[in-house]
Structure formats: C-alpha cells, structure tokens
Amino acid sequence: MVAFTGTTVGRKYLMGVSGLIWAGFVFVHMCGNMLILISPQAYNAYGHAIVSNKPLLIASELILIFALATHIVSAIALTRQNRSAKGIAPVRAPNGAKSTGLASRTMAAQGALVLVFIISHLVVFKFGNYYETTVDGVVMRDLSKVIFEVFQSCQPVAWYAFCLVLLGFHLSHGFGSIFQSLGMLHPAYQPKIRIASLVYGFVVSVGFLSQPIYVFLSQS
C-alpha cells in the first residue's frame, strides 16, 4: 500500500470519514436534546440512560475524540499545504458567475471557532455544575438545572446562537463535501447532495438553536 494518508487525496478521506462520524453524532445529539422542550425529567432520564451505559459511552467518546483529533490534524496539514501551494493570492476571489460559496471558502477558520465552541460547551455542561435529582426513584444528575441556569441570561444565549449558526454553516458545506472526498459523486445525484447538505446544516442549526431559546424564553 502506498503512503495513502500522506497524499492530499488520502488526507481528504480522513477528513471525510472523521467528519461523517461527527456529522452523525451532531444530528443524534440535537435530536436527543429536543427532550428539554418536552420536560426536564425526560431530558434528565435520557442523559442518565446514556451515562449509565458505560461501555457504550466510553466507546462512543473514544471514537469521537479519535475522529476529532484526526479531523484537526488532517485539517492543519492540508491548510498549511494549501497556503504554500497558493503563494500569492489573486487580488480578488472568483466573483460573478464564477463565484463560490462563503462557507466553502472559510472552512478552516470556521473549524477553529467550532473547536473553541466544543471545548467551552464541554466545560460548561459535561464538566459543569453538578446537581442531583430523583426521577421515578432513581437518583441522577440534574443536567436540565444546569441548562436552565446557563440560559437565563442573554449573553450565553447569544454566544450559543452565534456558534450554532456557525456550526450549521460548517456542516452545510462539510456534509456535502464528504461525498466528494469519499469518491461518491455522480452527475445523477450531485445536485441532490448539495441540497441535502444545505438542509442538513439548516436543520442541525435550527434544531439546536430552539433549545437555548426555549429555555431562555420560558424563564423570562
């Protein structure tokens, strides 16, 4: 086997596969969190079910960490390679009939911001304040209390709104790109993939956004 992952094409496979893992996770995460709109108890019970299944939890976390690390390392390698390949940039980006999407041109910068968001998100929630509650006689973490605490003021809601729109933006290009990187584009379904990617990014963004906004409004 050739030094597959040393080539630009090989690195795009790494970007694609790791991106796909996260794209899947983000979607499931968004759907599960919708329970907060139903009731804090349902949300807590859901969270408890996840953390109680230790083997599944640890396996998923390891896969996610590994995928994220792969995504970041490949992105840095590719970005550096791409900058030196371009050298001097033209005075203007392609424009008019030949223009390209803003999302696709700024993926690296978006990625860096999304990483900051992921870290801050874990600090605030996963490793944040710990409260306990009892649902149906079972003692569990009251994560919904943390959520209501965080999203009672404007600033965190605004920060989340910004980050979630950004995440949706990143995914709206990234999700469709995965297919090209993994060699799965065909004239028959290329346009559909592009649309599916936009819809996916939008749904993730709006779905997640509805949660802090709901929590904020329900307290004000």
Partner: protein, 261 residues
Amino acid sequence: MSAKTIDLTLKVWRQKGQNSEGSFKEYPAKGVSVHASFLEMLDQVNEALISQGQDPIAFDHDCREGICGSCGFMISGNAHGPIKSTTVCQLHMRNFENGEVLTLEPWRATAFPVIKDLMVDRSAFDRIITAGGYISVNTGNAPDGNCLPIPKPDADEAFASAACIGCGACVASCKNASAALFTSAKISHLALLPQGQIEKEKRTIKMVEKMDSEGFGACTSTGACEASCPKDISLTNIARMNREFLKAALCEKPEHHHGEG
C-alpha cells in the same frame, strides 16, 4: 457591424522574470472595438507600448480558438474572465462596460512559476501526465475503430473528461491551487475506457503522487475550478479520482522488475 468602441483601464502585473519582483502597472486601452477578443485588445495595447519603445505585456496564446489551452490569466479575480465556459482568447470585449478598470494577473500557484508578466510555466501539468497518463497498445496498424465495444454513455463521459485542454484555470481559480480537476479529468478519461484498464491502478497512484509532489494543494470542494473551467469539466471527476485512488491503494500489486528474483 457597428463600430462601437469602449475605453478601459488595465492594471497589469508586470514581472521581468521568475526571480524578479512583480508589481501592478496601469495602462489605458482606448477605442477598443467590442468585437475584438480580449487577446486582440491586448495586442492593440502592446502595439502602442512597442511604438513608445516600451516592453510589451507578455501573455501566452496559440490557437486563439479555445482549443489549445495556451492562453489564460486572471481578469479581476476570475480565471479567463467573467464569462463561463470560455477561454480568454474566446472572450469578447462586448462583455465589458465602457470605463471599466480590469486587473490582469498571472495564474497564482507556487507550482506555476511566472515566466514573465502574465505568462506562467505550466510544465508541472506535463509532468503529471508523464507520470501515468498513457496506455499500452499493440504496435502495428491502427486498429479498427469499432473493434473494442464501448457503451455510448461511457464513451460520452470519457469524452467529456478528455475535453480538458490543460489550461490551468482550475488551479488558478482555486484558493488552494489544487490541480484535482485537471488530474482527475486525465485519470477519468482513461479509467472510463477499456484501453485504460491495464495501467489503471498504477496510473492513478503515480498521477496523484506527482500532483502532490509538484506542490499543488488539496481539493476542499469549493467548486471554483468547475465554475472557471472553459471546458466545463465536472467535479464528479474528482470524486472518481478519489475512489480510483482508494481502490488502487488497496489493490496495488507490488511492482516486478525484470531480472530480479
């Protein structure tokens, strides 16, 4: 034919040679016929420069009918100018407004060093082709055109990929200076035909490796290449290159050398 003319201002990248510093210089282009091609307009500007004893603006060209791939430079950020599916030699001045200011600069890519002004050295493309863009054939008379059955859709797709003229606009329009569209068009054109099967794996690996070692960047699917390509080469070629590369990397047989083992 109307005698409509327009006046333009050109900001042109002037660079004496590969190792000298370049900069933009302003030139007026007055009384340009809207029927002229962009290169004919530059010819007029150059004639004026020559008559003033100045160095004319260097740019590449050959066929001037959109088939050789020699011409090409950036016009205000767009490779081959603002009109889709067009080389700069086929771009007509009627597409510009009177009084427009246009910035002309060479293809920007480390792998395409500037020779002079708007002219770049694209021999990196030739080296990608030499790395694997060929097929094995029987010597002797030309075979009968129909002796190898090829389904029409395959022939059409291969032909669409083969339309690439190697102009380099894909690299120039790409913010990563990626040669993925060019290389994938060349890989696709042969991978789609029975004649290309013998060296398929080896070809894909060699051409991708060459593309990388020449210093081109990676594809980030912005689609700038497809939008700028005068021959409408599709992004699906890049997907084909990627899957052929994975297949080849997984199935590559070790190379046998004559006289060994």
